[in-house]
Symmetry: C2
Subunit: 204 residues, 2 copies
């Protein structure tokens, strides 16, 4: 068959990335029934890009943001999911993920491996409006799952309002409408106790 | 906030489609550990489009095929997954899925609901090279999972080589390279017994 070796590499890659379905995240599904895995999370992010495209910043390439989010967590097959609030785990995250990218992406033919690597690095570097929008979506989705499940994951890990606000601040630069929504969800969650409420008390 | 009502609809839709992560399919993961759900399946299909784009037929819009595959199974939230080999279940599939589409897509603002509906109908009608490529990918992926897991799902349901070949024949029109691969996988699976071998015996 024409290009048979290249096709074999593509198929090997597709079989390998099936493992992403077994990488568990800290978020629970909205119905609280179980932890979310990274493959279905990636699907949900691509859907969020499609649906929230009208809120993307100027200059963002929405299709590219979708592709970025489909591939951005493939490195977790080797490196595992590092919880956004785990500061120790984040220290060597970069090196672990770079090694994973080198192994996994290079199952593909060279030109495709290069393209996936470019998408992934664009995401990690957050220099383009596209990457910043993708990152904002990747922050917003777990917030929606948490808000939708009465803070199931935040409660388990004792996350405070100030932490959640700091972690999600990146949404503000990329998509002001989405940040306004996120901020009001975080406030509501703190008020009802699904997020530990450490908001400064307001002077009257 | 500008367009607040539209944003609320988008968020409601994103929370609703979280349910797709709880719709189980008949395929097992490659490692055989559990059934695949439809959300992670949809992610895998979008990845397969990205990676197998060089095998797409002339005139296929690869980005659109990816979007089609991200949304094509949303109707299963209400209608459930109908097994490709379940002929009785397929009889009223169309009506059940049409009702599901009407409910779920219309959580979105009207213009977005219309676009998702168009993508879904394009897939269902299979008239364009884009839809035929998307369908071929949707056939090939479970075949890869089955071949990769020693026919776990085929064995459970006693699927025969002739059935698998008939169901996957659609790959032939859309992507001859992929059909050549599929055909050789099906033959190998029949030969090793992970697919019931009803191939006609060859005269010498």
């Amino acid at each position: 068959m024409a290009g048979g070796d290249e096709l074999s590499g593509r198929i090997e890659f597709l079989l390998e990335i099936d493992k992403l379905k077994s990488v568990l995240r800290r978020s629970l599904l909205v119905d609280g029934s179980r932890f979310e895995n990274t493959a279905e999370h990636s699907w949900h992010l691509a859907m969020a890009v499609m649906v929230l495209a009208p809120h993307a910043p100027e200059g963002a390439d929405v299709v590219r943001a979708m592709e970025i989010l489909l591939i951005h967590d493939l490195v977790e097959i080797d490196a595992g999911d590092t919880y956004i609030y785990d500061e120790a785990g984040r220290a060597d995250k970069e090196a672990r993920e770079r090694a994973a990218a080198d192994r996994i992406f290079h199952l593909l033919p060279a030109d495709q491996a290069r393209r996936v690597d470019e998408l992934w690095r664009e995401y990690e570097e957050r220099r383009t409006p596209t990457a910043r929008f993708a990152y904002a979506i990747d922050r917003l989705q777990p917030l929606l799952l948490n808000a939708g499940s009465d803070g199931a994951s935040w409660r388990r890990h004792g996350i405070r309002h100030s932490q959640a606000r700091a972690v999600n601040q990146a949404i503000a630069e990329a998509a002001p409408d989405l940040w306004e929504l996120a901020r009001s969800l975080l406030d509501a969650c703190a008020a009802e106790g699904s997020l530990a409420d450490d908001r400064p008390t307001r002077t009257p």
